[in-house]
Symmetry: C2
Subunit: 337 residues, 2 copies
Amino acid sequence: MVTLAEVARHAGVSASTVSYVLSGKRSISAPTRERVEHSIKELGYHPNAGARALASSRSNILALMVPLRTVYVPVMMEIAIAVATTARSHGYDVLLLTGEEGPAAVRRVTGSGLADAMIVMDVELEDERLPLLHAARQPTVLIGLPADTVGLTCVDLDFTATGALCAEHLAELGHREIAVVGEAAAVYERHTGFAERTLEGLRRRAGELGVRLLHRPCEGSYESMDGTLSRIFDERPGTTGFVVQNEAAIDPLLSLLRRQGRAVPEDVSVVAVCPEQVATQASVRLTSVAIPAEEMGRRAVELAVAKLAGQPLEEQVTLLAPELTVRASSGPAPGTS
Amino acid sequence: MVTLAEVARHAGVSASTVSYVLSGKRSISAPTRERVEHSIKELGYHPNAGARALASSRSNILALMVPLRTVYVPVMMEIAIAVATTARSHGYDVLLLTGEEGPAAVRRVTGSGLADAMIVMDVELEDERLPLLHAARQPTVLIGLPADTVGLTCVDLDFTATGALCAEHLAELGHREIAVVGEAAAVYERHTGFAERTLEGLRRRAGELGVRLLHRPCEGSYESMDGTLSRIFDERPGTTGFVVQNEAAIDPLLSLLRRQGRAVPEDVSVVAVCPEQVATQASVRLTSVAIPAEEMGRRAVELAVAKLAGQPLEEQVTLLAPELTVRASSGPAPGTS
DNA sequence: TTGTAGGCGTTATCAT
DNA sequence: ATGATAACGCCTACAA
């Protein structure tokens, strides 16, 4: 293994000079710099990560905690990829932690100095990792909002506004009875913020606009969607608008509506909360509020990097404004002039 | 930050004793061990990762290179999660690298000693990272097969056998004209091994069994599936069997067949190559060959760990045997007694 | 602009 | 069974 010292010898300079050429923390004369850079190339030198971490107490690693359970959801992967690529562009690598270990993972990573900062996905309202994250000397950025955000840096889509936006869109089209196909029951039981906040936004705005709202959780399989749909139409036969939040439920919903002879958007309108890709690849191009996964991942890294640079953060909570894109799945309520 | 030295002082022993209590590399008397462990708890000591890596030249980190392009595919995510959890159970953390950087990432990680071993997903037949991986001092495990596997450790589903199995199943049911809905054209252009090998297995076995085979790549959107389907039936109106390899094409295919009035499995049979979850959650429970994502990830880690332990590996290439599960999407060809 | 030297926290070799 | 004490490779005041 080539060391800094060997490079220094080869270039005829001292070790510190090589170090400074690498870090750029002091000015180096052009000829010296060239000699050193040439030696680095020629010897194929790569700084040793461990030594660097020890001496500088910086690992140049960002830890990313991903949820274990909900992870097959493409959104999570998209965020993870965005985190990884953005991190690289700032000189950081990403350590992948699964939620499996729970708080222990936080202890391990913060305690060992393995990572310089943590990004935590899928935060629950009363997340058991929060106390540890508060106590850690590494900065943390949450993707998602816990109940209490005091002293925390968070990034998330503004799901309350998202819910409101969906309600508004359908109300404007004349729909008076809206059904919400929600996330799986387990998601609500875990008190994941986004699901509850979306619902709250929907309810409030629907109330303001005089629209009736019915919410039903849904697992996302054809069977469960079938049952959910029956119960919805049993209870509210006049339902003409749907808001779907569960990605997995989208295809089943469209498919079942078609099978029941309900045309989209002539008979019923559907608005989805999902990534763009899902909305445009469904059997009907969906009117949707995009989940800006890439942006969330990117912003989280940028905030983490800013914190590491010691920049005081102006906003502690970054809520991304939702944008609703009208596509082919929503139209005027039946009987509307 | 609490250091080993502080623990030693607190426990009234030398630093090396504490180190050995932690590593278990030499026997420690019960009382001493207890004192040390007590001090560790009381002071909240955590070994410093950088120092450890420097002194032992082991980072206890496994690098995982995930593909950038095809990554939103659930299979990839599942593998990644399996890698992360298995790695943890062996005391390793996982560094997430995206294919974006290409060979440079390999250089960086191997050169810096950031990771003790690498696991590379989505290997192409002539992968440009292979030469570097060969030269690296860290062991590597590939998920997927390149053209030349000499000196490499690889894990993959036996896709050739998978193709053969699909052909057999349909042939046994009396189907004489089979269409293969393949991966997106880009996948073949990149010379990804699994796609070509599946096709090869299909073609060979179909040939042996006197079954006609038509292969068409497919992007996975409804539009492209629609076009693909038309062309298939134009060219081979007698097609009664389908093999789908592109996860994204499954829902569109089923949906379009239904719309065309072709019943599954009465008129046409469909066999998919996909994760179990996808097969059981589709609108028709699919006869399928499972892609054992979890097992692939797990095996890859186990192989990497074995290599790190210096165990000579008996098998360099691990091909997992495919298993076909018959569900509701395949049945006798129409007109078969 | 460049060199010198001490220290970062662990591991592991030699002693005892 | 335990202790001293070199490394490990790099960073960064402090000097020159």
